[in-house]
């Protein structure tokens, strides 16, 4: 199949995996939704390459991801505050994020580092992967999704190849105004077990500052800060967990559950992060401080609708890159030739403490 167009992973960086809108309908048999940690980034990236909203993308952490087109041209786009570099014919040059670009056969795209937020999404035009239980999302623990076959459920690693469509002739696209970083508090709805904590505990949780620990991955984010005092039993009869649930084990240090988290757990859950703010929390780096603010469930629903409207407006603002008076592609080619970029050569550093984002004891395991 030498005529097959592929995107080769040269390096996966800190952690990269195939994700999509996630797997629905199987929580009752213990299968989490998985899927991207920030669906807005996925949807924008897919819009930039003309894919449907929830098509599979490469979700990556912290930089270091390197991709190369093989066997033909591949169109890709990166959503996220990423510093990118493209290598073409031995010349390296910078490339802005939030646009699509056609990689010619042999071109290499490098995701050098991320600014605000540690997550970026790479969409690939025409990327099709087998759906398992309705989704291509990688869920490593049960070997589901991803590239399929013998690589089912595996995180991306150097040498793996993703099947792509030959890049279309349509113009490349750009998101003219990327979403602004939101430094506001992470909003939470108290419950389902807020009554397992003292009233002072919830007040403390929103008054104090918590730090994201090094144990932050696709399953959850462990926080460090003033311990939350249980009012009664430190364990409950296991019940369902949801994404965003903030469970508090006996030591009082909260753990926010994310896409790959276990579907049931025996620790009381003091509150739940609203869906509109979950991507922002997942993108916090180890050491970063976070603050929380309480909203009601109804307000959370309103914020979900507001966030959706913003995402749709962003997607609607995606425009063809050419034909706007300035030929960005030509400008960009000039940059390539001038070869400005090599200064940063401390290559693709994985951030200290996050190389093993996928391994080790996972937060929140309680059974």
């Amino acid at each position: 199949m030498s005529d097959t167009v592929q995107l080769e992973v040269l390096a996966a960086g800190a952690y990269a995996s195939v994700q999509d809108g996630g797997r629905r309908g199987y929580r009752r048999i213990g299968v989490p939704w998985a899927g991207v940690l920030d669906s807005r980034l996925m949807r924008i990236a897919n819009s930039l390459v003309g894919n449907v909203d929830a098509a599979p993308v490469i979700e990556c952490f912290d930089g270091g991801l390197q991709l190369a087109a093989r066997g033909g041209a591949v169109r890709v786009a990166v959503a996220g505050d990423a510093t990118l570099e493209i290598e073409r014919g031995g010349e390296r040059g910078p490339l802005p994020a939030w646009r699509s670009v056609t990689l010619a056969d042999g071109d290499v795209l490098r995701l050098r580092k991320l600014g605000a937020g540690r997550i970026a999404m790479v969409a690939v035009e025409g990327l099709t992967l087998p759906a398992v239980l309705g989704s291509a999302a990688t869920y490593a623990r049960a070997g589901l999704g991803g590239l399929g076959g013998s690589l089912s459920g595996r995180a991306l690693a150097g040498g793996m190849r993703l099947p792509a469509a030959a890049a279309s002739a349509s113009p490349e696209r750009v998101l003219p105004v990327p979403p602004a970083a939101d430094a506001g508090p992470i909003r939470i709805v108290p419950g389902p077990q807020a009554d397992h904590f003292t009233e002072a505990a919830l007040a403390l949780f929103v008054a104090a500052e918590y730090r994201v620990t090094a144990e932050a991955d696709r399953m959850g984010v462990r926080l460090e800060g003033p311990p939350l005092e249980h009012a009664g039993a430190r364990e409950i009869v296991s019940d369902a967990t949801v994404q965003g649930a903030i469970q508090v084990p006996g030591n009082g240090q909260p753990i926010v559950l994310l896409a790959d988290a276990q579907t049931a757990g025996g620790y009381p859950k003091v509150a739940t992060v609203i869906s509109a703010d979950l991507g922002r929390l997942a993108a916090c780096r180890p050491g970063q401080a976070v603050r929380f603010a309480v909203v009601g469930a109804a307000e959370g629903e309103r914020l979900a609708r507001a966030a959706e409207a913003e995402t749709r407006a962003l997607q609607a603002s995606v425009r063809p890159l050419l034909g706007e008076g300035v030929d960005l592609a030509a400008l960009y080619a000039c940059n390539l030739v001038s070869g400005v970029v090599h200064a940063l050569s401390a290559e693709y550093r994985p951030l200290p403490g996050v190389e093993d984002a996928s391994g080790g004891p996972s937060p929140g395991i309680s059974s």
Partner: protein, 246 residues
């Protein structure tokens, strides 16, 4: 039963029937789950993504762009009262092989010591009881099964293991379970079951379903190894351990 509605963020809520592991609560949960499924099949409850029944509660996951908590609770209200009189699920009956020997049973000796019994006695107690699958969760296909004989009830291990091998048959508090996947875990490992509990390629990926009943049949290490190999080679259909062999 004291029914409570609990917020679980902006896209889910939990209907809680009680606070214990109790077959009557389970029956209510399953009756509500079945009633919701019927309503959904009739096109009711648009915006509901899925439900998750557990020991004592049912969580409704919904899309806040399509519906809302208030509207759903109003639509579900008529189902609550009926659920409380629900009957237990009939369930299928399984007889699953377990090796209680050697490296398959790293906590057998400690468990025996903790309850002041012999290892044989622990095996006899554990394999001499029929368990009900209360719920599936935590990991794909992971069955929470009850109820353990009183004598076998121990708190979880003080030091959870970083790696519990797949197939481990474990106990904690009043429950027993089989780990379908290698994972961290804090339960006491009494044996190992060779039968895969989850296969995404099956029409019904989880071997066990809530409401099923399970007995354990002790097998030797040699038989465990033979079964493991035969199952991996696809020579045995796991359905053979279903009573009545359908």
């Amino acid at each position: 039963m004291s029914l409570r509605l609990l917020d679980a963020g902006d896209a889910a809520f939990t209907i809680e029937f009680g606070n214990a592991i109790d077959p009557q609560l389970l029956a209510a949960v399953n009756a509500l789950d079945a009633a919701i499924a019927r309503l959904q099949a009739e096109g009711g409850l648009p915006g509901v993504i899925e439900t998750m029944p557990t020991f004592r509660s049912l969580t409704v996951f919904f899309d806040p762009l399509l519906t809302g908590r208030e509207a759903l609770i109003a639509a579900l209200q008529p189902l609550f009262a009926a659920a409380e009189g629900g009957a237990a699920l009939a369930g299928r009956r399984w007889r699953l092989p377990v090796c209680y020997e050697g490296e398959c049973a790293p906590d057998l000796a400690d468990t025996a010591r903790a309850i002041g019994a012999g290892e044989d006695e622990v095996v006899a107690l554990h394999s001499g009881t029929e368990y009900r699958v209360y719920m599936l969760g935590f990991l794909p296909g992971f069955p929470f099964m009850g109820d353990l004989p009183e004598r076998l009830r121990l708190p979880r291990r003080a030091e959870p293991r970083v790696r519990v091998p797949a197939g481990s048959v474990a106990i904690a508090t009043g429950l027993t379970a089989i780990y379908p996947w290698e994972s961290p875990g804090g339960w006491h490992l009494l044996g190992r079951c060779p039968v895969p509990l989850f296969d995404a390629g099956r029409a019904s990926p989880s071997l066990l379903a809530a409401g099923d009943r399970v007995c354990f049949e002790p097998v030797s290490m040699a038989e465990f190894q033979r079964l493991t190999a035969a199952l991996q080679a696809g020579e045995i259909d796991p359905q053979q351990w279903l009573e009545g062999g359908q």
